[in-house]
């Protein structure tokens, strides 16, 4: 999947002449400071409202549109507070007017470790558990494209590391785009890492092993440091 082009809001360019090709089967991490258009880029790919004008093209490898084949997960868990975990996981099918596959939903809830909480409402769950439920809902959609917009950034360090591992393990066959501002996160899970800043979009070469990289290994720590240095260069 490839997006190339420019984006402006009113007359101001948010980004110009960028060209991003997602890793064909794996996790692409889009890293960058706030306000450079990471989320806008993700929303363009996911077919969501962006409140601006995009001039360019989005093409998928098979030439079919992305719409209808994507799942989305945001920083907010976006769980419906009036539905229990099972109801939230099966929401997609109900919204499409289809019958939900309850057996599969239960299986996914077990896989994200919420089997004890299947009939609880979001207000009864911790932040980490809610994001697990949101992950199960994302998996339930069973889509080739998965768009993750900083889904772990509101979690505490331990829960975040657990969620990264769980999400990486369960979303291993999909085309994942992860928007993040955390170099450590990109260093752990990225098959491909791109940095978007005021100067535009650059691929960041990765020399160490394939993800999931342990957060305490020397080379992933080095990658994280390199990413941080690259982020700290303020383009003139």
């Amino acid at each position: 999947m490839r997006i190339s082009g420019s984006f402006k809001i009113d007359e101001d360019w948010l980004f110009r002449d960028i060209d991003l090709t997602l890793h064909p089967a794996g996790w692409t991490c889009l890293l960058g400071p706030s306000g450079v258009g990471k989320t806008t880029l993700l929303r363009l790919l996911a077919g969501l409202e962006t409140y601006g004008k995009f001039e360019g093209t989005i093409i998928t490898d098979d030439g079919q549109p992305v719409v209808g084949r994507a799942a989305y997960m945001a920083q907010q868990d976006l769980l419906m507070p009036w539905l229990d975990v099972l109801g939230n996981v099966t929401l997609g099918a109900r919204l499409r007017g289809e019958k939900a596959d309850m057996a599969r939903a239960r299986e996914l809830i077990v896989r994200v470790g919420l089997d004890q909480h299947i009939h609880k409402h979001p207000s009864e769950l911790s932040g980490g558990m809610r994001q697990r439920a949101a992950l199960a809902r994302t998996l339930m959609e069973d889509c080739p494209f998965v768009f993750l917009d900083e889904p772990f950034s509101a979690l505490d360090a331990r829960t975040r590391a657990e969620m990264q591992e769980l999400a990486f393990e369960l979303l291993s066959y999909q085309n994942v785009l992860l928007v993040t501002h955390d170099p450590g996160e990109a260093a752990r899970v990225g098959h491909k890492i791109v940095i978007l800043d005021e100067a535009g979009l650059q691929d960041f070469p990765i020399s160490c092993a394939e993800p999931l990289r342990p957060s305490d290994a020397a080379n992933s720590f080095k990658l994280q440091t390199q990413l941080l240095s690259a982020l700290r260069v303020v383009p003139t």
């Binding site: 929303r43 969501l48 507070p81 499409r96 911790s126």
Partner: protein, 248 residues
């Protein structure tokens, strides 16, 4: 101390103040009766009061149900149709600028002296708060939920049914609680303008005959009913939005 004990203390305090004013000023009972006289009137005229109270309660409850349903349906319709929103909203706001009290005589002319003119006044009073709070809730659905629905290729009807309406229920509940307090006002206004029964009618009648103790007895009956109605509606509201727990 529990809430019930505080409630009793509060009521006793109010009654004590009332009695003190009557005793200290020596005001005649046909100007301000003592709480004791009002209690006596309540007991003595209980059948008369009950007979009129039933009429008023029926007006209030029918007005509340009809007004809430009409308000909810209007809000849903305005939510779905942007054209209707632009066309009808200004009219709705304008009708709110017309005092219902001023309309009551005309409504009595149109709907007669019976129960229906009072039901209509009640409906008019509560219709707008219910419609506007519910519409507000429907329009304020979190954009994140709608993004999610869009990526999931939700049908618009299902988005309305499964996301917009549930997330607007707390607003609808607030509107309903407001309506429960306003509804008796509507019924009594209707009765003042022209009626042959009801607590408002009884109050006017008692006032005209200087039976101020009876008037107060009717007034207290109405107030207690309003508080009870509000409590029942609050219970219903709490049940509708029972999923709204404290966030962890």
């Amino acid at each position: 101390m529990s809430r019930a004990i505080w409630m009793c203390l509060s009521v006793s305090f109010a009654l004590g103040m009332w009695q003190a004013i009557v005793t200290l000023t020596g005001v005649p009972h046909f100007i301000l009766p003592s709480p004791m006289r009002v209690a006596q009137a309540l007991v003595y005229s209980r059948e008369l009061i009950a007979e009129h109270a039933i009429i008023t309660f029926a007006e209030v409850l029918s007005g509340l149900v009809i007004g809430a349903v009409l308000g909810a349906v209007t809000a849903l319709y305005l939510m779905v149709s942007a054209t209707a929103r632009r066309l009808i909203m200004p009219i709705l706001v304008f009708t709110q600028a017309v005092p219902v009290f001023a309309l009551a005589p005309v409504l009595t002319l149109w709907f007669g002296y019976g129960i229906w003119s009072k039901v209509v006044v009640t409906v008019l009073i509560i219709y707008f708060p219910v419609a506007s709070t519910f519409l507000d809730g429907l329009m304020r659905t979190s954009s994140g939920y709608l993004d999610l629905a869009q990526v999931m290729r939700a049908k618009p009807s299902q988005t309305l049914l499964r996301i917009r309406i549930p997330s607007a229920l707390p607003s609808f509940g607030s509107g309903l609680k407001l309506a429960a307090v306003y509804a008796p006002i509507g019924a009594v206004i209707g009765e003042w303008v022209g009626a042959s029964g009801g607590l408002g009618y009884l109050m006017l009648l008692a006032n005209g005959r200087a039976k101020i103790d009876l008037m107060f007895a009717a007034l207290i009956t109405l107030a207690v009913f309003t508080i009870a109605l509000h409590a029942v509606v609050s219970k219903i509201e709490a049940y509708i939005v029972r999923w709204k727990g404290e966030s962890v």
